[in-house]
Symmetry: D2
């Protein structure tokens, strides 16, 4: 079995909870209250900027020129098409980019991004490349899992948002990241990859839960 | 006003909540259920190891040889007397160091340490030096705030644990760290230091809250 | 005066030596022995891969999303058009990319790239952004300084190579990097920027000198 | 064969050149012109401060708490006894610590320390732990190789300087570092360790050569 497949299986119980989380289900059904979606979108800015930083750190740790170029490609994708798509979405919701910039990141947002950045800064790049997979991959799996709901979904913004994760481009990106893990981590101790994959999958779940509850700092 | 004093004041509402947190109050009064203290102590291992790592990163970013040596001194303190004290405490509670090593770090533990490590890895050392202050300083202030309770405290282990934070050695360490901030951050934009100090103070509060609730991963 | 202008002036005596270095003069005149140019081109692979890594590290230290995106743009440029141009040049010289990959980097190559990577890894990004300027900028200034020689230059490969650094695209990149320094380093101690700029300018000179002498490790 | 032994053997031709370098031979014989030794000692300050930084970075990448503590111990040794010994030596030569601080590091000094810092910042800690071995170990082997010369050496300062590297304490440190490599690098690709060990051994040779020639920047 591919390493990524094994990781996916070992995190199966967490991913199942993600698929079933009310934020996800209601988003694909179209019943998610708009204010919760707005909250989610505004928070995403922080995540996106730090994702670019994170891939940059991974790029600097890569072993070979090929990998350096491959990851540089992902950085470019994040900084251009992903960022542009994000700005368009903000506009549709009546926001400007400044609104997102000025939002205070909530606890799980800060925690999750810090975990990724600390991993890429301090750990071998096999662990870092594994740490970025659950986010991209689970978004794609969520979309597959709930795609049938989209035909009944009356919220155009939700439908458009979700369709990105069903696109061929997005699937290619996910496959590329899976292949990174399968290829580069072959000789790396599996237990360490598993710990990372599980922790990040947990953060993914907690992120959905936090945006559903529109979480803020307790003090 | 000293920068550290200004930061302390700006985080005053959070520190007040820390002083009043039931874990803290019950610990100093001696009424904290032992199992919660045990939970706290076992989790501390992860925090301690990563604190040494964190100071190491800060040391590598220091501007001058004097600072390098000062921080190397703190690393030594953490890795020797602090670690030895920790192992003694484990023994008193009937644990071995392996018990602490094998404990799964709970969410806030992972989040807080990741925030510190990401800060020291990626941000100028003025921000990092600021990020380590709230933990050390608030422990000292908690001890001052609740010291009167200790005379009534029937739990010897709690009393002994607390007395460390009232010792001259500990106060010297706190003063040293405050001086770092006051000295090195003079020309650094205050707003960035404040953001860091507030975030870390919040993590301190959430850490106390999590150990009180003996928090585990939701999935 | 712009910070970059002041830095350029303070390194004037070094840049003058660069302009006058036989490798540079003979390259623009067309009299440089081909084997020296081949040596230079094969060594450049290592420099180029590490330049992408280096910009990636700087990207991860950037303060704002705008800067993150700007530097992500430079990473993309290096990893695509610059890399493609490099591969084409290799082909013209009868090499494959593998030939360049298998070349042992000579001392100044290792030293120079290590200095850049250590700076971006450990120093505030103002210093790192300053450290990458001399390479790009001096190539542009060299081209301006010697452009008249190109009309007499009989070596087509040399003329084509040099013309890149006279192109509008290249000038735009240089101006962008100068603007980074002028904008982001405004409040940063000038002395530190100057030390970095001088050291890197010296490495630039030593690099030209090393390729002219086709330097190898002394042991 | 132990990994460290294999590395030592593969770098044998370089180490032989180090043992035979005039700086080394004349230092142990007592015939080295004092001004060259003074040059060497003043330059060493920069190396020493960066060695502490370098071990700090390695500490932050360590896998287990045991290793974290072991390396914290080396940091302490470098920052205290090694630094104190250095200051005493400066005093004997009529210098103050400020004299060493104000010295401009020469090219190989900057290059060598940058290589170590870039390695510890960006590469897995197995490579970093390997990169620090040649300096400590070769000093010990040099001392063994030339110890007989010391009885005829009339220069007290040289004799005292050299005797440090014959002491039990120093031998223990070298053995500890060798054990790090033997233990932690067991499953790591040998070729990468070899490249690092060879490069650093070359820098060691070039360092001796540069101080013998009292090298300065060419521009």
């Amino acid at each position: 079995m591919r390493i990524s497949g094994k990781l996916r299986k070992d995190a199966g119980h967490i991913w199942k909870k993600i698929f079933e989380h009310p934020f996800v289900v209601e988003l694909y059904s179209g019943t998610l209250p708009m204010e919760r979606f707005r909250f989610y979108v505004l928070q995403d800015y922080n995540y996106l900027v730090n994702a670019i930083k994170n891939f940059s750190i991974i790029c600097s740790r890569a072993d070979t020129a090929d990998v350096v170029k491959e990851i540089a490609d992902v950085i470019h994708l994040e900084a251009t098409s992903e960022f542009n798509g994000y700005e368009e979405l903000l506009n549709k919701l009546g926001y400007k980019i400044e609104d997102a910039m000025n939002v205070d990141a909530f606890p799980i947002n800060v925690s999750y991004r810090s975990f990724l950045l600390a991993t890429s800064s301090l750990r071998p790049y096999q662990e870092s490349i594994t740490s970025v997979l659950p986010c991209f991959w689970s978004y794609s799996e969520i979309a597959k899992h709930h795609r049938d709901k989209l035909s009944e979904n009356k919220n155009e913004i939700y439908v458009e948002w979700a369709s990105v994760f069903l696109s061929g481009d997005y699937l290619n990106l996910v496959n590329k990241l899976r292949n990174f893990v399968d290829t580069f981590c072959e000789d790396y101790p599996y237990g360490k990859l598993r710990d990372i994959f599980i922790t990040v999958s947990r953060f993914e779940y907690m992120y959905w839960d936090a945006v559903y509850k529109m979480e803020s700092w307790p003090v």
